[in-house]
Symmetry: C2
DNA sequence: CTGAAAGCGCTAACAC
DNA sequence: GTGTTAGCGCTTTCAG
């Protein structure tokens, strides 16, 4: 270890009291420019490094934010996390990461994060935080932010799912499709429900009728049905309809669209010539698969999540804010629009 | 905030001195079972939460490990990080994450992590840590671990790149291919160089000759050429060879293979019927693309990285250890092996 | 403007 | 065994 120089060393060396040293180190106004200069010079010469934990103890704040995130999901989280990290380090805070594999772990991690003074705020990603934990969280009065999930008691940042689904479906309609199916995820998932609503509304606003038959959900319930296999299964189901099968689909996530495309290809359907698809998320895979999809501003969401959290730390009585981002349509090839344009 | 109960509160309430309280809380042997029981009961009743930073200050250790990781990148890091996180939380340590977008940032983050007492150890992922920083790191005597990179002065965990490349190439040879090309990344990258060696050796050991012409590198140098566009460009180059073009390729990363496949498809080549491919990494995309590839044991690498780091913390004078993992061949469809087997 | 001193909450060495 | 006390390194009154 570097032979730990403390402010006492600087004080002795510079000929001042530790109070003064602390003041210049913290940019306190009442210090003469000369002493400031001198102290800084000595600090630098001694290669002084503050002891973070001593500061945190004395200041009664941690300058750290923790994020509880379901890990292995996809690109979406990594991307949001990037935004989080970016903003956090800009603020000079630390990010401590808790990766959760199973909902049951949330409580344990929350307890750790809740240790008095440990963190200044917590961000929960796409978590169904157990009510029990929610209550404890509320009691602690610690600034909390929810990303990609919503609860009346905490600030949240989420995506306008219904709106995005509406736009995706409308795009297909504008392309001339009238029989449009939807591959959805499990209805226990709020985003899935909202996306269904958007799809339905788009249909109805454009004078098309909504049919249950045209909405299918795969059997695989992993990640609430937002997985590749579920998409494959749902599309396989559709294919069994034969000539009754819709020729355009709004799929509630890109990863499901991957599965759907595989099912399509295996059955001799080409995308977009035979079947048009629009996904949701714009995960990294989407570009490679040339999938038209609804992009969520992930990085920005991460940045905003931190900004909000910090704002609340500064002003705990701030009114609770729920922010919703609108996804944007990214037109690639799977919807068939580009082909049409070439004509 | 929870109305901060301290060990003083417990002491008063339970009728003991704070020393005793601290002892039971730390499982110190010399406490009567009865007092222990009593203290625990009171602590629980008061909902006592230790103040992490006070503990860290007093104990002179941080119980936290930080990881400096190039973010953007792919599945590989996330997966290794999962292993890291898993082991870290098993140990009750905290993980503080520093995401680096550009090598220049490394120094800044290193400085932050190096603040006296801040972390008990640091893990650098796939980083060309600047020499300057390396020297400072060495001086601090802080336990450091390198993941996916190597330096004589620090413990490291990496992948047997040459060996993996050898296996991939040999697989293609066993499948009957004699003219095998390689799409490589920039030679400033150590892994790229090692993979080239493995490829070359496999060729020579099997009596095939190595030709420079059969090794191409894309122009896009982002991430040292380990990117989709570079793969696309390199394959486009090969395609220009016309009938001289190899019909089997070892590609130095899956992401490049994605680009290569796109180039192939655009030019009317089918994979694996016309051209066989083997990638490297086994990123998530690989499964979807049915890519045969060399899998790296990412999760395990993360776990081991932490185990090593912790071992070094316990015993700083331990001999420096360099561990190399062997990638395993994952046979999917892109190499053509499955098709052949069906015959 | 600056020094002295009192904490921040906990651990650990030292008495009894 | 248990209480007492002295730090851990820094921030922050409070005098002067």
């Amino acid at each position: 270890m570097a032979k730990k120089v403390t402010i006492y060393d600087i004080a002795r060396e510079a000929g001042f009291g530790i109070g003064t040293i602390s003041r210049v180190l913290n940019d306190h106004p009442s210090v003469t420019p000369e002493t400031r200069k001198k102290v800084i010079e000595v600090a630098k010469r001694l290669n002084y490094q503050p002891h973070t934990y001593a500061q945190r103890l004395a200041r009664r704040q941690s300058e750290t934010i923790s994020a509880v995130i379901p890990f292995f999901t996809n690109y979406f989280f990594i991307e949001v996390l990037r935004g989080v990290q970016d903003k956090i380090s800009e603020l000079g805070y630390d990010l401590v990461l808790y990766g959760v594999e199973h909902p049951d772990q949330v409580e344990g991690y929350a307890s750790r994060a809740l240790q008095r003074g440990k963190v200044d705020g917590i961000l929960f990603f796409s978590m169904k935080v157990p009510d029990k934990v929610l209550v404890r969280l509320k009691e602690t009065n610690l600034p909390i932010g929810l990303v990609d999930s919503v609860s009346p008691d905490f600030d949240s940042i989420s995506v306008a799912n219904a709106e995005g689904a509406y736009a995706a479906t409308a795009h297909l309609i504008e392309l001339g499709h009238r029989r449009i199916g939807m591959i959805n995820a499990q209805s226990v998932s709020a985003p899935a429900l909202e996306r269904l609503q958007g799809y339905r509304r788009a249909l109805e606003r454009h004078g098309l009728s909504f049919t249950d038959e045209f909405v299918r959900i795969g059997r695989n319930t992993k990640q609430d049905g937002f997985n590749r296999d579920a998409g494959y299964e749902a599309m396989t189901d559709f294919i069994k309809m034969g000539s009754e099968m819709p020729k355009a689909f709004f799929v509630s996530s890109d990863i499901q669209a991957m599965g759907a495309i595989a099912a399509l290809n295996e059955n001799g359907f080409r995308v977009p010539e035979d079947v048009a698809l629009v996904g949701f998320d714009d995960i990294e895979l989407a570009r490679h698969m040339r999938l038209t999809t609804m992009r969520q501003p992930m990085f920005q969401m991460g940045v905003l999540a931190i900004e909000r959290l910090v704002a609340r730390m500064a002003n705990p009585d701030m009114e609770i804010l729920h922010t919703t981002f609108s996804p944007t349509l990214i037109v690639r090839e799977s919807c068939g629009a580009l082909i049409r344009n070439q004509n």
